[in-house]
């Protein structure tokens, strides 16, 4: 046939099918009806850890082994902490104090970066509060 190096695609397919048939006849299989695996709702577990809440296995008393005593607190607390999962994060600094700190902070840090000319803006009042910022002196165009 014209320019035919290998077998025809059709003949190839036929040969493959025949091969499959031969192979499947040789393969062994169980001649049993299909068993339906029921979805069981009983789980088997051989471990006592699920059944009883047991403490951590290492114990030390009256300071005999300080590392083990630390571990005891850690492991037994972890065990109880799993039940209580709601913990609100305590604020170290209240919101009001935070706002107050920020107020004063802006002025002091601003002073550090102000140039000589801007020092006038940061002059302090009698009370020690920073004066409100004056309007900058800009160039005014003469009106003829």
């Amino acid at each position: 046939m014209f320019m035919q190096r290998g077998l025809d695609s059709e003949t190839k397919k036929q040969l493959e099918e025949e091969e499959k048939k031969i192979i499947s006849e040789e393969h062994w299989y169980l001649d049993l009806p299909e068993l339906k695996e029921k979805e069981s709702f009983i789980i088997e577990e051989q471990s006592f850890l699920l059944c009883e809440d047991l403490l951590y296995g290492r114990m030390s008393f009256r300071g005999f082994n300080p590392e083990v005593e630390k571990l005891m607190l850690q492991m037994n607390a972890k065990h109880k902490a799993e039940e209580v999962e709601d913990e609100t994060v305590e604020l170290d600094v209240s919101d009001e104090e935070m706002a107050r700190r920020y107020e004063t902070l802006v002025g002091t840090i601003g002073k550090k970066f102000a140039r000589k000319r801007d020092h006038a803006n940061y002059e302090e009042d009698e009370n020690g509060d920073i004066k409100p910022i004056k309007a900058k002196k800009m160039f005014l165009k003469p009106q003829d």
């Binding site: 009983i42 088997e44 577990e45 471990s47 114990m59």
Partner: protein, 275 residues
């Protein structure tokens, strides 16, 4: 004790399955079948007659139940395989059903995945240690299963050392494997147990009793003198105190407390406290 057993025997003679709920806390014998709560309506004794009509009669809610040690699944029922008292734990949160198990007593330990045990190193071959845990075959422990162990930095473990570790593989088809680190790679107290001290064997039930959160024995023992105890779920306990005499007293107390009543125990503790 004879009464519950005779009652159980009568039931067995009649070979009727009892409801698990009614048997809680009673002695059950191997071979008994127990009904789970959902099945009681249809199959309980004296079923017909006064049964409240449920709105969804057809759909029975399938709650997932865990059957623990001493029980096996047998179709839809639980089959008892060990003699002891039937216990139940309500589910804390999430999936319902709870756990049923049999509180039995035995001395022979069978490795269970996740259990913390005390093992004795019996051999060192290549990269693994063979550790005797009291089961049918020694467990294997890789030298990399210690905290901070690398191929160059090997742990200092000799034959005869005591190891506190947990099982990662433990079933009837494979050799048990244990490790001395947790899933995050931290030791958490596992590893080689220190020098001196005394290792002795007790029954498995006693270990569970002593490790219960409200165990009075441990609280009283802790007040005697400074000491350290390690409990292995395979029935092994290691104790250490400042002198040999104190260690021996502690070992004797723990061995004997299984068969003592709480009054006898308090007598012994008060005598010890005086001396």
């Amino acid at each position: 004790m004879a009464e519950p057993v005779s009652v159980a025997a009568e039931y067995l003679a009649g070979s009727r399955a009892r409801a698990a709920r009614t048997v809680l806390g009673q002695v059950v014998l191997p071979g008994e079948e127990l009904l789970l709560p959902e099945q009681e309506d249809a199959e309980g004794p004296g079923g017909a007659g006064e049964r409240p009509l449920s709105l969804n009669a057809g759909a029975r809610s399938r709650v997932r139940v865990v059957c623990g040690p001493g029980l096996r699944r047998c179709g839809d029922r639980l089959l008892v395989t060990k003699c002891g008292r039937l216990r139940h734990k309500e589910p804390g949160s999430g999936s319902g059903g709870g756990v049923y198990w049999v509180d039995s007593q035995q001395k022979r330990y069978v490795p269970v995945k996740g259990d913390h045990v005390i093992g004795i190193v019996t051999a060192k071959s290549g990269d693994i240690f063979k550790v005797d845990v009291g089961g049918s075959e020694p467990a294997s422990l890789s030298y990399l299963s210690f905290e901070g162990a690398t191929k160059r930095n090997r742990p200092n473990v000799q034959v005869g050392d005591l190891i506190y570790g947990q099982f990662v593989v433990a079933n009837k088809d494979m050799e048990p494997e244990m490790v001395c680190i947790d899933s995050c790679g931290r030791a958490n107290g596992m590893g080689v147990i220190g020098q001196d001290g005394l290792l002795f064997k007790v029954t498995l039930g006693l270990i569970r009793k002593l490790l219960a959160p409200d165990c009075e024995i441990i609280q009283e023992v802790g007040k005697l003198y400074p000491l350290e105890i390690v409990f292995g779920m395979n029935g092994r306990i290691w104790v250490k105190a400042k002198t040999i005499q104190q260690t021996l007293i502690l070992a004797n107390i723990l061995e004997a407390c299984e068969h003592m009543t709480s009054d006898q125990r308090k007598q012994i503790f008060s005598r010890l406290a005086e001396s």
